[in-house]
Each structure stands twice: as structure tokens, then as C-alpha cells.
């Protein structure tokens, strides 16, 4: 999961893809940061009742579980449907722990984690009182293969045996043989390769049950059949929605959701700047409101310095890594020594100040795996005082590498005021090391087209990423393996291809022992920095304001640091 936004518009929380989009632009805009708190410290626990309001400047991409792949929809999707597993109700690292949801446990692997078996709890019901069965979960996963519903996370469907040929339940009535349901409470998945992280993948909306009789294919997006604590009782796309209680949801079977408010009302067409003003003013029903929208950079100082507002500000890591990728295939950044000199010369400190400071950007990063993941290791292979960069050392490194007159590198910069300001500061810093930082301004609407096309991309490009689940397996493989390089829509923007590295990635993906896996991912992380594939810049943060009546809240890492709406209370 990840969150991000376009610099042109207030940040739209998303899972991985969008996170890329916004935060890469956020190099020029904002990957939030703050100073307040990551969780409700009032000691108040949730109380049932009341109406929760949700203010947003964008609607959910999709609420159909087969298509739900952004953090805001993922967070709200948990109100409407349950999945095999989900995340523990807690802020920070404890909230990244996977716990059973529909299932009785987090799954039993066999055959070197190529097979996973789950048993679901008995007596679980849909909104009409009918019983949830594993056949409905199988059907829900099968729907993700349909060409009609292509937007969901690809992990499970890419991994299942026979998935390459299967076209979904509308075309292939026989179903997918690699998902077995020997009875109504058991489900077994067979994967092509070891899938150690499957309990995480099973927390994505794709494993939500969908009864075949209730499937309305593309229209299901407007009215998913509820297995969660709420029913989507009205929905005007792009405008507003109302959720009311599902009387058949049984609190005793659900350890992940408090589901305290009786009603949830969302307004999803609001102006970003107006949302800030509403949350700051805290009038009327806005006292009961939550928002995922990050505080606008110009308001960050105000909301973190005014005690009355600060107490309602939630801040915490969003799980993102913001970096500058160096194209390993184009001269002069194809030379590892040039890339290493850039690492040393890079004026992180000055660039962060120009970008709005730590509250707006985030903490300095020195590796690719953010601290919110257990495989993160603290190391800094290119240390400089206060992260200010060391142009003298970098100049010497370049001279030793055969570039006594320095080098010229091209960089793609989003054509925004902040983007240009940051680029100018970096240019000045690198010039001291003899590096000519040649800026190529790119319109925001074309940025990802250009940097995602290796033939067109400059030497350096800004990028950002948030893991789809809190493990390095959704950071390193999609961003730094040979198979990830595409002629268009490329996300391995360093064009890094190293067969030995890929072999070790496969080994880490197959490792079911978490500690061993973390060690392997940590080594891979270090290798990326040794090879100077990217210049890590910030570990992103989120910062948002909540209404004064909101209680039992926390910044939920699996949802990009957004508030966990399944657990907030308005009383």
C-alpha cells in the first residue's frame, strides 16, 4: 500500500502506483511531515454511536474489492468487506502485524510456501444474513482475473498456478483449479513459486468474499455486497456516500475493527485548501470529521505551532521512500564511480530546506527500505556532515575515476515553483564538485510518461514508492529487478539489471523464516546503495488534521499513515 498525490492537486492517497506518482512529484511538492503525534494519547477507547464524517478532495478509485488498489479505498474497503487476513488495530510498527480476519489464523504454508491453506471462522454472515463460504472467497479472487476488472493488485493472480491462461469467471465458468475449496470453511491456494509473504497479500481487498449470485460485474463497484460492519447505503460517485450498520456483522468475530460510529458520511468533492480550513475551524459536524488529505505545505507551520490545532494533528511515517534514481545505462551515470561521487556530493540538507523543511518533506534517508519495514537496517555508506554533501571529496572521486574536468548529468524536474527551487539548490551544490547538473523541466502531466520511457528519460529522475504491504518484497522486486524494466510505463527508473541481484531477490522472496528473509532483504538494500543505484533522500511522512471529537485514532502504516477509519470513534 502506499499513498501519494500529484503536485498539481492535493495529495491523493494510493497504494503503490499512485504513491509513485505523487511522491516523485513530491520531491518538488510535499511528502508530509510533522511534529505532533501518531496516535490518540487521551487514553479514550472507542464508544459505539454517532456519525463519522469523511472529507476528501477525491473519490475512491474503486470500491469493488477486485479493483480496490489505493490506500483510501483500502482503508474504507475494510468497513464494507472482510478479507482472509488483515492488520492489527494499532499505530506504528505494531499496526503492520498481520492478524486473521475471516480466517482462523494467518494461514498454513506447505511445499516450501507454494501452497497455503486457510480455514475461515464459522457463522460469518453477509448483510442479508446468508453465510460466508470459502467458495465466495475463491470467486472473489477469480474475479480479479477478469478483463472487466483489471485495476486490482496483481500479486495473487500473478502467482497462482494456471493464472497466465485463466480469464476470470465470466469467460471461464469452470473456475481456477489452483484454488481449492474442499468444504465451505477451507480454502487452499497453489502458487507457481514460494510465496512467503502470502499472509500479507491475503490482507489486500482481493481476498474479500463475493457471492456469485450478487456479482454485478462492473456495477459491483457502486454497491459491494457487505461482509464487513457497514453497508454502502447510498453512493453518488464523485460526490458523496453514506454507510450504515450491517446488522449481521458480529463484533465478537472481528478483532481488527472497532466500527464504533453508527453512520459514516463522506463528502469527496471538496477543495483541498477548503478541507484544511474546515479542519482548522473545527465547526459543527466537522468536529466529527476525519480526512486523509495531507495538510497543505503552506499550512504545516500554522497547524504544528498552534496548540489548539496541534492537539488534533496526526503525523507519522507513511512508509514511503523518496529518492533520485540514477540511470545505470546512460553515460555518465552508467559509471558506478560517477554515481558514487553524486551520492557524496548531493546537498541533501540544502535541498530539504528548499523543499519546505522536514515537516513538509520527511527524515533524511540513506537506504531504500524505510524504517517502517522490519528489514530496514541503519547504515549510511556515504556519510557527510549534517547530510550537507561533500563536494571536495566528490570532486576528488571524479578525478580519480578519470573525470578531472567533472561531468554533466541531465535531470528531469517537474515544472513547479518548488521543483525548480529545489533543483536550483542542488545544481549549486553539485557545481562545487564539478558536476554540471543540467535541468530538463517537464510538465507534470507528462512527467511519468517521460521518466517511464527509458529511451527518453534523463540521467537522474525523482521518484517515490510505498510498499504494497509492510515488507521489502513489494519494494525491491518491482523497482530494481531486470524483469521490471519496461519500454513504457517503466518503474525501474534506474534501469538496474543485475542477474546475481535478481537471484538473491528470488531467494529472499522464497524465505519463509521472517528473520532470515529480513537479513536477505537488508543485504539487497545495502547492495543497491553500494552500487549507487539511487540517491535516497527522505523517508516520507504524513500529516493530517482530525476533528476534535475523533477518538481512538492512529496513523496506520498499512494505509500510508492515514487514520484507521475502522477504529475511530466520535464519542
Amino acid at each position: 500500500m502506499a499513498r501519494s498525490s500529484l503536485a498539481l492537486t492535493p495529495r491523493v492517497p494510493r497504494y503503490a502506483t499512485a504513491a509513485v506518482a505523487v511522491c516523485a512529484l513530491a520531491l518538488t511538492a510535499a511528502c508530509g511531515g510533522g511534529s505532533s503525534k501518531t496516535t490518540d494519547t487521551s487514553g479514550s477507547k472507542g464508544t459505539v454511536g454517532g456519525t463519522l464524517y469523511y472529507l476528501s478532495n477525491s473519490d475512491f478509485g474503486h470500491l469493488d474489492p477486485a479493483r480496490n488498489y489505493v490506500t483510501d479505498a483500502g482503508d474504507f474497503g475494510r468497513l464494507l468487506y472482510r478479507t482472509l487476513t488483515t492488520y492489527a488495530p494499532a499505530g506504528g510498527i505494531p499496526g503492520t502485524k498481520v492478524i486473521p480476519d475471516l480466517a482462523t489464523d494467518t494461514g498454513t504454508p506447505s511445499d516450501n510456501a507454494k501452497t497455503w491453506k486457510f480455514t475461515i471462522k464459522k457463522g460469518l454472515k453477509y448483510e442479508d444474513g446468508s453465510v460466508i463460504t470459502t467458495k465466495d472467497i475463491k470467486y472473489g479472487v477469480e474475479r480479479t482475473f477478469s478483463e472487466l476488472l483489471p485495476e486490482g493488485a496483481p500479486y495473487i493472480k500473478d502467482a497462482l498456478v494456471g493464472g497466465d491462461a485463466y480469464k476470470g469467471p465470466y469467460k471461464d465458468k469452470a473456475g481456477l483449479a489452483s484454488i481449492e475449496t474442499p468444504d465451505d470453511t477451507t480454502i487452499i491456494f497453489h502458487f507457481k513459486e514460494p510465496f512467503a509473504d502470502f499472509p500479507y497479500a491475503a490482507a489486500l481487498p482481493g481476498t474479500a468474499p463475493v457471492p456469485q449470485a450478487k456479482d454485478t460485474n462492473t456495477k459491483y463497484d457502486l454497491r459491494p455486497f457487505s461482509s464487513g460492519p457497514y453497508i454502502l447505503s447510498s453512493y453518488q460517485v464523485g460526490k458523496t456516500f453514506t454507510m450504515t450498520r450491517n446488522k449481521y456483522w458480529d463484533r465478537s468475530t472481528d478483532k481488527a475493527r472497532g466500527a464504533y460510529p453508527d453512520t459514516v458520511i463522506g463528502y469527496v468533492s471538496l477543495d483541498g485548501a477548503t478541507i484544511d480550513q474546515r479542519m482548522i475551524a473545527d465547526n459543527g459536524e466537522d468536529k466529527n470529521a476525519v480526512t486523509f488529505k495531507l495538510v497543505e505545505p503552506e499550512n504545516v507551520t500554522k497547524v504544528t505551532s498552534d496548540p489548539a490545532i496541534k492537539s488534533r494533528v496526526i503525523t507519522g511515517p507513511d512508509g514511503s521512500i523518496v529518492y533520485t534514481a540514477m540511470d545505470t545505462t546512460k553515460k555518465p551515470t552508467s559509471d558506478i564511480k560517477v554515481r558514487q561521487a553524486l551520492e557524496v556530493a548531493w546537498p541533501k540538507k540544502a535541498a530539504r530546506i528548499a523543499g519546505g523543511g522536514p515537516l513538509v518533506t520527511g527524515d533524511f534517508a540513506h537506504d531504500v527500505i524505510p524504517p517502517s519495514l522490519s528489514s530496514h537496517q541503519d547504515f549510511n555508506l556515504y556519510p557527510t556532515t549534517d547530510d550537507a554533501g561533500d563536494p571536495v571529496k566528490a570532486k576528488k572521486m571524479l578525478a580519480d575515476a578519470g573525470y578531472p574536468n567533472g561531468v554533466t548529468v541531465t535531470v528531469g524536474v517537474v515544472a513547479t515553483a518548488t521543483g525548480q527551487k529545489v533543483a536550483a539548490v542542488i545544481k549549486e551544490g553539485l557545481a562545487k564538485a564539478g558536476i554540471n547538473y543540467k535541468i530538463q523541466l517537464i510538465d507534470a502531466s507528462k512527467y511519468y510518461d517521460i521518466i517511464g520511457t527509458p529511451a527518453k528519460q534523463p540521467n537522474l529522475v525523482g521518484y517515490a514508492w510505498i510498499a504494497d504491504w509492510p515488507a521489502a518484497s513489494t519494494v525491491i522486486p518491482p523497482l530494481f529487478t531486470c524483469g521490471a524494466i519496461q519500454p513504457q510505463g517503466n518503474i525501474n527508473v534506474s534501469n538496474y539489471c543485475n542477474k546475481d541481484f535478481d537471484a538473491k531477490v528470488a531467494q529472499a522472496k522464497a524465505e519463509t523464516d521472517l528473520k532470515k528473509a529480513d537479513k536477505l532483504w537488508g543485504e539487497l538494500d545495502r547492495k543497491l546503495v553500494e552500487d549507487a543505484v539511487v540517491i535516497p533522500r527522505y523517508y516520507g511522512k504524513s500529516i493530517s488534521i482530525q476533528g476534535s471529537n475523533i477518538k481512538n485514532y492512529w496513523s496506520a502504516l498499512p494505509f500510508g499513515g492515514q487514520v484507521d477509519v475502522a477504529n475511530v470513534s466520535v464519542k
Binding site: L148, P150, G238, D271, N283, E285, D286, K446, G452, P487
Partner: protein
């Protein structure tokens, strides 16, 4: 009259066609691939090709243009086999981003824009004409000078400033609930109260022109010979003013009102964004950010259609209210 109408309607179609061509050319000059918007997180070349094929982006630009025009008359199918999506005639295209026909998006958002435009128009017309008449009848007095002064000031105010100031005054400081769109069918009172601030914002901006125009027209018409004749016949001053004076001042107002209303029906994006009203202006901005060409085209054509029709209606109304004008 009939010949005039036919000529104008043909000109309207030609202009719409020109708008369509220009929008198409501008979009393709961006040299960006909109298929990437629908391709997903990891966009394989095969998937990209499939998306391009689904939306017809694998064809040449002239071909795409012809297909677009054909779709308007016959409707279009996007995709193949089980994944086909039908876009019935008049098909204005299929949104890359939202995965629905453009007309569905417009139908969903137009009631918001219509609500804003009609309510604001009533308000600014009332405010503008009433203050204009008062100003004209009391020309040279303090009242007149105040009205002229205020209208000059409001005329130069940006919509954004007025909107945010009203929000600050009423909602942030005054404690009034921030507005959001409520359908008239769901709650007529909620619809009315939530639209008040957008209406007032637009009325403040637009009414200034009407005040000044009404004032100058009224002052001119009240000097005419027929007004003296009317007074000489012994008509009351009220009848002289409103039946004879005001009517003569009306035609230019009708023309400008038609154009303003037509323009607003195409979307008032600043007002819509500030007050969280998901209308056509909002849709247009989102589609531009998303490079969603079919939506950009659809909203542009829809907006242009209203401006052109409003222009035509205003011209006809002008002729009906001014006996000196004959349509040829």
C-alpha cells in the same frame, strides 16, 4: 426568421466542429500516452498495447477523429469479447480514467452546474437590475455614487477571493456549516442552503456588470422622447419607469445575460472547487490533470454548445424585445 434560424444552426454546428478539431489537435500535441493512465501499476508492453487497442489509441489521429464523430451518431463499443463496454449514441467517448461513457459523467455532474448557474443568475439579475434602476433614478446622489463605487470594486474582484472571503466570514468565523452539494430531490432545503454561498459569490462578481449596464441604459432611455410622451399622457411615474423606461433598457441586458448564463452552464470551476461542488467545471479540471482526452473533449463540446445556443437564444430574445430589430 426560419432562414435566419437555419443559418444560425448550421453555423453553430460548424463552430462546434471547429472546437472539436482544435481540442483534438491541442491534446495530441502534448505527445503523452493517455493509455498509461489505465495501464496499471506494472505496465507490461502487452497490457499497454491492449489498453491502446481498447480505446482506439493504436489508430492514426485522423482515424481516431473520424471514429469519434461516427460514435456520436451510431454509438461505440470499447474493448472486445466479454470485456466490451457499450457507449450508446450520442457517444462523446469513454473515459480512460473513470471507465464510464463521458456522457454518464456529464449527466451526473451537470445538475450541479445547472443548480449553481440558474440560482446565481436569478440572484445577480435581481441584484444588478434593481441596483441599476435605483442608481439611474437617483443619478448623481450619494446612493448612486455608492452603488457605482461598489459595483466598480466588485467588478474587479477575482472569484477565488470572494469565495474564500465568504467562507472565512460565514463558515470559519461565523460557524455556519461548510457547504457541500445536496440533490434537490434529496432535500430541497439542503439544496438551497448549501448553494447559497456559491450563488452569492457569483452574484457579487456578475451583478456589477448588470448594475452598470442597467444604470446607463435606464438613464439613456429615460431621456427619450417616448418617456416624455408617456409622462405627458399622464401615466404614473412607476408605469413610465418600469413599463416604458425599463423595457427599452432590456435588450442589451438580455444579450449579455444569455452569454453569461451559457458560459456558466459549461462549468464554473473556481466556484465549484472552492465550495466543493462537483459540477462540470470540476470535471473539466480533473480531466485535464488526468489527460483524459474523451472527457476534455466532451466537456468542451458541451460547454461550447451552451455558449452557442445561449448566444442564439439571446439574439432571438433581443429581436423579440426590441421592435426595431428584424431577424434576416
Amino acid at each position: 426568421m426560419t432562414r435566419y434560424l437555419v443559418r444560425r444552426v448550421l453555423a453553430l454546428i460548424a463552430l462546434l466542429f471547429a472546437v472539436l478539431v482544435v481540442t483534438f489537435v491541442i491534446f495530441f500535441s502534448l505527445q503523452s500516452n493517455p493509455a498509461l493512465k489505465s495501464c496499471g501499476r506494472v505496465c507490461s508492453p502487452e497490457r499497454l498495447k491492449a489498453v491502446e487497442h481498447k480505446f482506439g489509441l493504436d489508430k492514426s489521429q485522423p482515424e481516431q477523429f473520424v471514429i469519434y464523430l461516427k460514435g456520436f451518431v451510431e454509438g461505440r463499443d470499447f474493448g472486445e469479447g466479454d470485456a466490451v463496454r457499450r457507449c450508446p449514441a450520442p457517444c462523446l467517448g469513454y473515459s480512460f480514467k473513470s471507465d464510464v461513457p463521458v456522457l454518464t459523467l456529464i449527466e451526473s455532474d451537470f445538475p450541479v452546474t445547472l443548480s449553481i448557474a440558474v440560482g446565481a443568475a436569478v440572484l445577480w439579475l435581481l441584484m444588478g437590475v434593481v441596483t441599476g434602476v435605483i442608481s439611474a433614478l437617483r443619478a448623481g446622489t450619494r446612493v448612486d455614487r455608492s452603488i457605482v463605487g461598489i459595483s466598480t470594486a466588485t467588478l474587479s474582484l477575482p472569484t477565488q477571493l470572494v469565495g474564500y472571503l465568504l467562507l472565512l466570514l460565514f463558515c470559519v468565523k461565523g460557524g455556519v456549516a461548510f457547504p457541500h452539494y445536496v440533490r434537490i430531490a434529496d432535500s430541497p432545503w439542503g439544496w438551497f442552503t448549501n448553494l447559497l454561498l456559491p450563488w452569492i459569490t457569483l452574484a457579487i462578481i456578475y451583478s456589477a456588470v448588470y448594475t452598470r449596464l442597467t444604470r446607463s441604459q435606464m438613464m439613456e432611455s429615460m431621456q427619450e422622447d417616448f418617456i416624455r410622451t408617456a409622462r405627458g399622457k399622464g401615466l404614473s411615474e412607476r408605469k413610465v419607469t418600469y413599463k416604458h423606461g425599463a423595457r427599452a433598457a432590456l435588450p442589451p441586458l438580455i444579450v449579455i445575460f444569455g452569454l453569461d448564463l451559457g458560459g456558466l452552464l459549461g462549468g464554473a470551476f473556481v466556484t465549484e472547487r472552492i465550495f466543493g461542488m462537483p459540477g462540470l467545471g470540476n470535471l473539466a479540471v480533473k480531466s485535464i490533470v488526468d489527460l483524459d482526452l474523451p472527457v476534455i473533449l466532451g466537456v468542451t463540446i458541451f460547454g461550447a454548445f451552451f455558449i452557442l445556443v445561449a448566444n442564439l437564444v439571446a439574439d432571438i430574445a433581443y429581436a423579440l424585445t426590441d421592435p426595431k430589430v428584424v431577424l434576416q
